[in-house]
Amino acid sequence: MPLVPWFREVAGADGVAVEDGDLLSGGAIQENRALSVRIRGGEHEGEHEFVLRAEPLSTVPESRPLEQQFRLIEAALEAGVTVPEPMWYCGDPTVAGKPFYIMRRIYGEALGVRITRMGPMPEIAATLGGELAHIHTIRPPSERLDFLEPISASPALDAVAKYRAYLDREPEPHPALEWTLRWLEVNAPPSGEIVLCHRDFRTGNYMVNDGELTGVLDWEFAGWGDPHEDLAWFCARCWRFSGPSLEAGGISDRKTFFDAYERASGRKIDLRQIAYWEAMAHVRWAVIALHQAMRHRSGREPSLELALIGRRIAELEYECLKLTGAL
């Protein structure tokens, strides 16, 4: 069934006109297309600006299937998180060539380099602290999120085992990452609260328009975990882009972000755990970077951009050594 009749069916409409818009930049992983849709009849009658998000050609390991991303965004919306409104999911590949979902289009700037060039944005950092607190109100068990892998007694040791398994698949040894993973194993914190972690909550994955947050994006890595993991990921040096001295995402100091989170969540942040998960954050980015570089090295996707990611690993290892007291 082609796209227009599909729209008519899911929207319960009498008539639908779809105008194909631009291909939107969705980072290296996803494929986003803007659509202008005019709906006649039914509860969605009117003009709509939507985004069609489809499964990309190649994915990063751990990237969730589209249907799960869609369910996560629905759950986030219900928990009060600012997200692009999820409309419909379609798993039938005959409609648009592959599975996709439709969400309402949001506007603004998401690119990390540009956002961090706008100067300090403490209000946005505080808003994001509150958003993260909303995400962390979602807790297991959750029937609608029953596809999320159950968490073991220690999310930290789970992560150590997972990243070691990734390193085992790499052709070269990586002593600095092994050092860090050993440190993370020995210093693993006792298991705390388990919440829904976004797992890519950082500058580059939210949209800002005229000084207002318009949406938290990119839910493909979300899963159960320790709340400190998200807080540390947001602050990690590798996500500060042009604002390395603004430690919360390159847009503000940490205190503004942490205070807003604590106020909204009622949870007390443990700064030692932040340092721990920050080291984990750099290991995680490093294993993703190794994977991205391999997409080029394997000859499957020759790309200078992917190739250069392979030479960013020293930066991440430098941060790892710093955080583990080896520098």
Binding site: W179, R182, L304, A307, L308, Y318, L321
Partner: protein, 127 residues
């Protein structure tokens, strides 16, 4: 014997031409791609200026912990000894409380290697 300019000199002057003469006339997208190309050329030039590894003393330092084979070419030794080093790090051989001299050697090795690679890959990173 090869003629001059050598590889490093050629890349250096090509980088200069790219940034001085080509980049200014380009669209934003093309400039982004030129920045990627310049970055790759810079890394390649600095790598060529160095030896088999970014950290010049890497093999010697590794040999304070492990034995290289007499017949082994340096590239093979680097790979093999780093594999041993990585496995021992994972197994906890250099944990606090282990042999203090080995731990010191291991830490110095990690630090010097990462700093040397960082100087090659992104010399402006540490300010």
């Amino acid at each position: 014997m090869r003629n001059r300019p050598n590889a490093v000199e050629l890349i250096g002057i090509a980088e200069k031409l790219l940034s001085d003469e080509v980049a200014p006339d380009l669209t934003a997208r093309q400039r982004y791609h030129v920045a990627l190309i310049s970055s790759a050329m810079g890394i390649a030039r600095r790598e060529l200026e160095g030896g088999v590894s970014a950290f010049r003393g890497e093999i010697e330092e590794l040999q304070r912990l492990y034995t290289a084979l007499p017949s082994e070419p340096p590239e093979a030794a680097l790979d093999r000894l780093n594999r041993l080093f990585a496995a021992d790090l994972r197994a906890g051989r250099f944990d606090r409380g282990a042999n203090e001299r080995d731990r010191k050697t291991a830490l110095a090795l990690l630090k010097n290697d990462v700093l040397a690679r960082l100087a090659e890959d992104n010399p402006r990173y540490v300010k």
